[in-house]
Amino acid sequence: MANFDALMHGFAVALTVHHVTLMVLGVLLGILVGVLPGLGAPNGVTLLLPITFSMDPVSAIILLTSTYWGALFGGSTTSILFNIPGEPSSVATTFDGYPMARDGRATEALTFAFMSAGFGALLGVVVITLLSGFVTGFALRFGPAEYFSVYLLAFCSFIAFGSGPPLKTIVSIALGFSFATVGMDSVSGAMRLTFDFNDMIRGISFLVVVIGLFGIGEMLLTLEEGVSFKSADARIRPRAVLSAIARLPRYWVTMLRGSAVGIWMGITPGGPTAASFMSYGLAKRMSKRGAHFGKGEPEGVIAPETADHAAGTAAMLPMLALGIPGSATAAVMLGGLMIWGLNPGPMLFIERADFVWGMIASMYLGNVIGVILVLATVPLFAAMLSIPFTIIGPVIVTVCIVGAWTVAGAPFDLWLAVVFGLAGWAMKKLDYPIAPLILAMVIGDRAEDAFRQSMIMSHGSITVLWSKPLVGTISTLALVLLASPFIAALRRSLRAREQLPPAQE
């Protein structure tokens, strides 16, 4: 109940005209940076950081977090409409969102995405509100071995249910892992795969790869195959939004599961990207319509979106209480916190209760405002599909190139984006799945760090992954998930054999 009182106090802090205006501004700006690929949430928040120096900390954090929520919402838009993720964490949304848009169900897909995202975010804030004390203790139990087991779990839950041909999936994963190793190795300090090129020191940016493989690759494919958007649903129809909202409660299981995965990954913190992939994988496995995933299934949009936003909001707690950034954006905000004169730590909740609870209250309000604003844009964005490809195509390519430039301001990245664009086209032609490559790039880097740190700590013994109940449970769960398709196949063949003899008799 103490938390509830504190939250009410927080609402009193956040519900001023000044703060609500900042939220609206932040969300709108966030939607804009989220929609543009490359110019993601971390860039948006970094750009705003200098403005916040002259603000009081509560207003500053409200502006920055609202921008983050807006960017998370905006990132899904281009995933669904053009198969180009605006944010790394919206990659999984493309799997079913884009097929839905191609079927002429763009309005429905966007509405589902935004509503479920808002639901996930709100559930994440509720958990933060209720469990703030308990959660920090839980996060402290995560050492390198625990981190690695979480990444392993994310990997297994997604890969085990992949639909691509196994050998091609492995090639795709291996490529992703090797791209992730380029640059300085953070455990030995050595340069890897840079070939003494200065441009390779940065490593291969994940964003540039996404822009290339998805953005430019998709454009090449569209050029070759001709435009196939069905313009049936491209007219502005606000009623379609409402009818989609009415159908949303049907998917409550997926939404709850996605939120749970997201909150857990936000707190531990595995990050929103890993959360969205994991949630998609689990939904595909557990849904009755699992076989239809990838062809435009609403659940395939809802699952990653709830997890993405739940993780984004839940990650704010370890940031404040422990100083661990759960995402790249949280890292920037952490720097802001220090400049505003606040030290993250358990004492922040006691000494600066107005700041902490003002921020948490603003997360409720900011997300509600975000959903309303972004839903209002749905008919507008859906209408973009009726613009002839000869106009929208060049615009998208321009935005992609600009996005690749903003990642590091390096001309080399432009060439990289073009090369990955050609590679993306080739991979689609040859039926190599792109998602495993992306997943390997995003979490491969961190998983490798965590694995090698745990190996250093255990002096090379793999048993460290079963050394404590927590890490042991997660590792075992990961292996069970990985093995489950084989077990299921085995069971099917056994059952077939059992049923065979009576048939012969």
Binding site: P50, F53, S188, L322, V332, N343, G345, P346, M347
Partner: protein
Amino acid sequence: MQRNTFVRAALAAGAIAALAPGYAQAQGEWRPTRNVEFVVTSGAGGGTDVFARTVQAAITKHNLLPVSVIVTNKGAGAGAEGFVYARSAQGDAHKVVFATNNTWLLPLVSRVAFKADDFTPIGALAFDEFMLWVKYDSPHKTAADFLAAARAANPPLRMGGSQPKDTDQTLTSLIQRAANVRFTYVPFRGGGEAGVQLAGGHIDANTNNPSESIGGWRGGQVRPVCVFRREPMARGNLVTTTQGWHDIPTCASQGIPIEEFNMPRTTFLPPGTTAAQQAFWVGVMRRVTETPEWQEYITRTSQSTRFLTGEAFADHIRKDITASRDIFEAEGWLIN
């Protein structure tokens, strides 16, 4: 004709006379004419990033520059990205590099395309302290307790810190050598992460800067044992209810014979910049260290402020390279 020449000569002389003061000023006093870029050799949120953004905030608030300041983070490859970027901006005094001692130490341990003397030094604005930290409920009350436990431990105690072959691991090897002990060094992505790993009991100690662990100390998660300094830190406010930074004894007084270990917060200009440009930036940075914003930053992060420039800064760099080269050589980290 003759008159004409005379007029021309007179005009020319007049022009020179009229321009002379301005010309002298341009020579002696350079000023930025377009927006300035602060190149930060760490990621957003890192120690160098907070340093650069504090300088940016102080400059903006007190109008120390006639132009705007943009901060860009180029922290890949332990900062190599930023240095390489600045090195290619030959003669451009509108770019200022924010760094630590990695400017001159990184080229010793890593194959990077720059050397310390490529850059035009501005100065060191502050020095960040190092402390030995243990978990709050650790049985080791003093550094002597900790060393005794480290000598007896098998497998060795785990010492955490930031990226490999950087300050934390260097200090760890110094402790190993000075006190004849052995640790397992576990590199994390930064001091903040090493602090949380210590609070969770996944490592046994770390050598974080005060600002990296102040939250954990106040929150009863971690505790400083000693400070790597000649004398205890200056008397200031209490951090916890009973103790302040000044209550922490020096490590040398507790049996770890390391007199001093700290990390400078440095600024540089790209190669080929002029003495006038250097002098301008030395002036700006000196004024920054006199602002209340800077003082507030120094107090909050428990650093020591000392503006080191010119020959004193060059001397500091030379001495540090000599001392570090010995350790790096002994550890086998030198690349050539």
